[in-house]
Amino acid sequence: MITAISIESLAVARGDRPLISGFSLALEAGEAVALAGRNGAGKTSLLRAIAGLIRPSAGKVTFRGDGGEIAPEDAVARDAHLIGHQDGLKLSRTAWDEVRFQAEWSGGTAAAARAACARLGLSSLLNLQVRKLSAGQRRRLALARLAASPRSLWLLDEPLAPLDRDQRGVFGDLMAEHLAGGGLILAAAHDPLPIAARAVEIGGGQIGGGEIGG
């Protein structure tokens, strides 16, 4: 289980262009960080770099668990979950197939998947094809996959956008419980998160922060 992450002078480039450089951050169990930054500042890129999907051009991310340092690949493969801009759902499968697959894939159980769905008010929708769900319902499905996965590092990329007010509250509760249970949350968001979180601004006005010259 991941109990702490430290990011040291990380640099991320996209297509030859440096985007983020010298980014450092330390995150402990029970802590949440809200990443803010302009469109194109590199929030998504940063989250993907932490998840190991993008290779940083410099710096490193260290994961620590109860038993000392964990190799990044292992840490991510066993204990991280990413909610991206896209929900990663297959339109042609049923909601239940999608939640259960992801829960089991992340090391959870079908029972946990069912509980997470109930929590997010999806129980009555589980037999529908994902294609038939509304945008908010799809996002809730993606969040149910997250909640059903026994993973302590949550990397969230604007998780709340299409949710209605009630559901934002529900997900806020889920995040609070996750933190209380020793989880870590790193969330990119343009709006304030419904939990207490340390705010970190990336990008600002410097090179690569805003836009890229055509």
């Binding site: 979950h81 990413l82 992801q102």
Partner: protein, 221 residues
């Protein structure tokens, strides 16, 4: 192992439902087989000679049909990210995808092949070798095709590009399979070519997942 069976079942379900790959491939196969007599005219002698080779070739081509979907969907809707964050390395996912493609598409085609070949006038006795070649060769086709599908991720052109990448790789299995069927028909030694086909397909099954995973990682990054 559990992870493998999970992802394998997912892939199987996706290619059976939704896309309907197998039926399209089967339909294509039947349509093409019915084209052969039309193209050759009614002369049965001609057809008997060409039928097994032709059936074999069309089988190889039919396996190109649903290749595009193998990685692209998961890539574009973000599902590949989540799979990559899972417990299993992408190589294993690639293996599962190749095998699922095999079971869902190549195997039905292989089982249908003898029917087609016989309908075209080849002796019924050829059936076992046709099925064997179809099953074994199909494995190779699926994995080689997977390499093409993974490599073309994020490219501006799908279908035809994949086919172009993949067809040169199809050369050896096509040759071995055709050789085995022909040798069997002629009563010659068909074991050697069949073994070569086996070896090639197994090697493809063993090595291609690495290429597929490397290509998928490259596309994700």
């Amino acid at each position: 192992m559990r992870a493998f069976s999970l992802i394998f079942r997912r892939e199987l379900a996706l290619s059976w439902t939704g896309g309907g790959g197998p039926v399209l491939a089967l339909g294509f196969y039947l349509a093409m087989a019915s084209l052969l007599p039309l193209a050759l005219g009614a002369d049965p002698a001609r057809m008997t000679a060409v039928a097994p080779g032709f059936a074999w070739l069309v089988l190889a081509l039919a396996s190109l049909l649903s290749l595009e979907r193998m990685f692209e969907r998961d890539f574009e809707d973000g599902a590949l990210d989540l799979i990559a964050l899972g417990p299993a390395p992408l190589e294993m996912t690639a293996l599962a995808k190749g095998l699922a493609q095999w079971i869902a598409i190549a195997a039905p085609l292989a089982l249908l092949a003898p029917v087609v070949v016989t309908a075209l006038g080849a002796p019924v006795g050829l059936a076992p070798i046709v099925v064997a070649c179809g099953l074994i060769g199909g494995l190779g086709f699926c994995f080689l095709g997977g390499v093409g599908a993974a490599l073309s991720l994020g490219s501006r052109r799908g279908g035809v590009l994949i086919a172009l990448i993949v067809l040169p790789l199809f050369t050896p299995p096509v040759i071995f399979g055709a050789g085995a069927i022909e040798a069997f028909a002629a009563g010659l030694d068909w074991r050697t070519p069949l073994l070569l086909l086996c070896a090639y397909s197994l090697a493809a099954g063993a090595l291609c997942p690495f290429a597929m995973a490397a290509a998928a990682r490259n596309a994700l990054s």
